[in-house]
């Protein structure tokens, strides 16, 4: 560095530079203002979204009230709209997805966090993160051409013959329906459960593990009986996050669920979910009540994901406070 004169603002040696320097100070204020406006815009956008959803569903809210959530008739001709079949479909597909993805994902996360050597763990994690990047429509594509025929020809008949006494596995096997949607969703949720659970498990302090091993536990016992319970809330948080994601999935579900507003105990039955029905009927909902009922469904979905995301965050925070690891997601 050549001869530098440290200029203290306000005492510039050259006459003309004083205004330039005070201009610079103003610069800070301007930049602060500009960036504030952009940050405030984000808040504004969110508020506007909620407002639009609320305003956009005024007709059915007044006409049906809370009955909207309890009735199961969806009849555009007679203008009777009830959200129950869609809420049911959303919940059932998410439940099936979690039932498959949680054991699988948790198992994989335990392997990656506790048992695998660091490099292998990082490399596998890399691929799993890539799995999270696959778009929903591609899952839908695979769902239609690979999963549905598999379901119809092999898996559903097999389930029917072995577990057919259960109400879940009765009825004709069409290939599409709740079970298929759940399976496709499960693959989509795996990466989220794995990566968050892995991070949570990694943040459990070493001494917990070592104390268990010192007391004579096997590696598996140390993992399953000490580390995992310690990270319990974080893992639960990852499940909630995955659940929130599952509820909002649109394309993959609408391509394999059967698009029929039906409530049925059988997992082989076609059904519909909130996101799926909005996607298929929004463009042509003639009549304000019809359209606004779809928007109200959007509002319901928004509220569901909002609550779940909030809970998830709290739970993950709870584990990390205890472990002192990752503080935010």
């Amino acid at each position: 560095m050549a001869a530098t004169t440290t200029t203290v603002p306000g005492t510039g040696p050259v006459a003309g530079s004083r205004s330039w320097l005070s201009g610079l100070r103003e610069g800070d204020e301007i930049v602060r203002l500009i960036t504030f406006l952009f940050a405030a815009f984000v808040v504004f956008l969110t508020v506007l979204l909620v407002f639009e959803l609320w305003q956009g569903s005024v007709l059915p809210r007044h006409k049906f009230g809370f009955n909207f959530l309890r009735t199961s008739v969806w009849d555009p001709v007679n203008e009777q709209f009830g959200a129950l079949p869609f809420i049911y479909g959303t919940v059932v597909t998410a439940a099936v997805a979690l039932l498959i993805a949680v054991p699988l994902g948790l198992g994989a996360a335990i392997f990656l966090a506790e048992l695998a050597p660091v490099r292998l763990s990082d490399n596998l994690e890399f691929f799993i993160d890539l799995l999270a990047a696959v778009p929903s429509v591609i899952y839908g594509l695979l769902g239609i051409f690979i999963v549905i025929p598999l379901m119809r020809q092999y898996i559903q008949p097999a389930l029917k013959s072995t577990l057919g006494f259960l109400p879940f596995f009765q009825g004709p096997a069409y290939g599409l329906g709740f079970l298929t949607a759940g399976v496709v969703l499960a693959i989509m949720l795996l990466p989220y459960i794995i990566s968050v659970s892995r991070e949570v498990l990694l943040s459990v302090p070493r001494d917990q593990r070592e104390a268990a091993l010192a007391l004579g536990a096997t590696r598996w016992e140390a993992t399953w009986k000490v580390v995992v319970p310690f990270a319990r809330s974080g893992i639960l948080g990852s499940i909630f996050l995955a659940l929130a994601r599952a509820l909002g999935e649109t394309m993959a579900v609408t391509m394999v669920i059967g698009n029929t507003p039906v409530i049925s105990a059988s997992l082989f039955s076609p059904g519909d979910s909130i996101a799926s029905v909005i996607a298929s009927q929004f463009k042509e909902a003639t009549g304000d009540l019809y359209l606004q009922s779809l928007i109200e469904l959007g509002l319901v979905l928004f509220l569901l994901t909002f609550i779940l995301n909030g809970l998830a965050r709290l739970l993950i925070l709870a584990t990390s406070e205890r472990g002192g690891g990752m503080a935010h997601l």
Partner: protein, 269 residues
């Protein structure tokens, strides 16, 4: 039990390769010159392509980036450098909320804000929907990376007489630029595959879409429409498009993570 967990991990990872494998197998042969250069032809005829969908996706993503990145970036600067804790909490909370909104609901939002008042489906509406989705991802990640710049650098800049904004522009942002670039790339890859918000904003187009005010075809929507159709030719094209789309997204992801990994240890934990 230990081997069981290993099997779980293998299953999870192999899912990715299975997906890629199927796409290559079914779509590989159809990714030809026609695919990239021709427009769709009427049903029943062969030889059509998806040139307009590829360009359409490009325009939509460009618009989304132009909307999402500046807002996310500048908002993050505010959060990291200027704001107090309450405002920061509110803005972060709003961003997280926005991030959690299902993409179909964002589509409804963009429809009521852009399509209805302008009375067209348009590239603009689609770009806005995707841009809104990019904002929270860019905002939160950029903020994280800006915060991770050591305070010593900030104080050093101030000690040398730089004003705050100069410090940000010349020291802090360049220091965090790898992470910020990664965040932008990841957000870009995320919205590149989104279909639901485009269904009732950009709609679709069987021709080239001139300007920004007309409906436009896009890769994800075309994949959806072709996949549920009964025409074999369209199915083949859907696979090909899926392969192209997924390859693009995976490449961006890999590049993004590579960018981050080459940076300073303020990257992965």
């Amino acid at each position: 039990m230990l081997t069981m967990t290993g099997i779980c991990a293998v299953v999870a990872v192999s899912a990715l390769f299975l997906i890629l494998g199927y796409l290559v197998f079914h779509g590989g042969a159809s990714v030809n010159w026609n695919f990239f250069t021709k427009l769709p032809v009427p049903v029943g005829e062969t030889g059509g392509g998806m040139a307009n969908a590829i360009v359409g996706s490009g325009k939509l993503l460009l618009l989304a980036t132009l909307i999402g990145v500046p807002i996310g970036f500048l908002g993050a600067i505010y959060l990291a450098e200027f704001s107090g804790t309450t405002t920061a909490f509110i803005v972060r909370y709003a961003a997280d909320l926005l991030n959690g909104v299902p993409s179909i609901v964002i589509g409804i939002f963009a429809y009521s804000l852009v399509v209805l008042p302008f009375k067209h489906f348009s590239t603009l509406a689609g770009g806005c929907a995707l841009g809104v989705m990019m904002i929270p991802i860019t905002l939160r990640s950029t903020e994280e990376f800006l915060r991770s710049v050591p305070n010593a650098l900030r104080e050093g800049a101030m000690a040398l007489g730089a004003s705050k904004w100069k410090a940000i522009a010349t020291v802090i942002v360049p220091c965090a630029y790898r992470g910020i670039l990664t965040a932008i790339l990841l957000a870009f890859a995320r919205v590149a595959g989104e279909t639901a918000p485009l269904l009732f904003t950009a709609l679709g187009n069987s021709f080239w879409s001139p300007g920004w005010n007309q409906p436009t075809a896009s890769l994800p929507v075309v994949i959806y429409n072709y996949a549920i159709s009964p025409y074999e030719d369209w199915h083949r094209q859907a696979w090909a498009a899926g392969l192209v789309l997924l390859s693009l997204i995976l490449v961006i992801n890999i590049v993004a993570r590579g960018v981050l990994a080459r940076g300073t240890p303020l990257s992965r934990s």
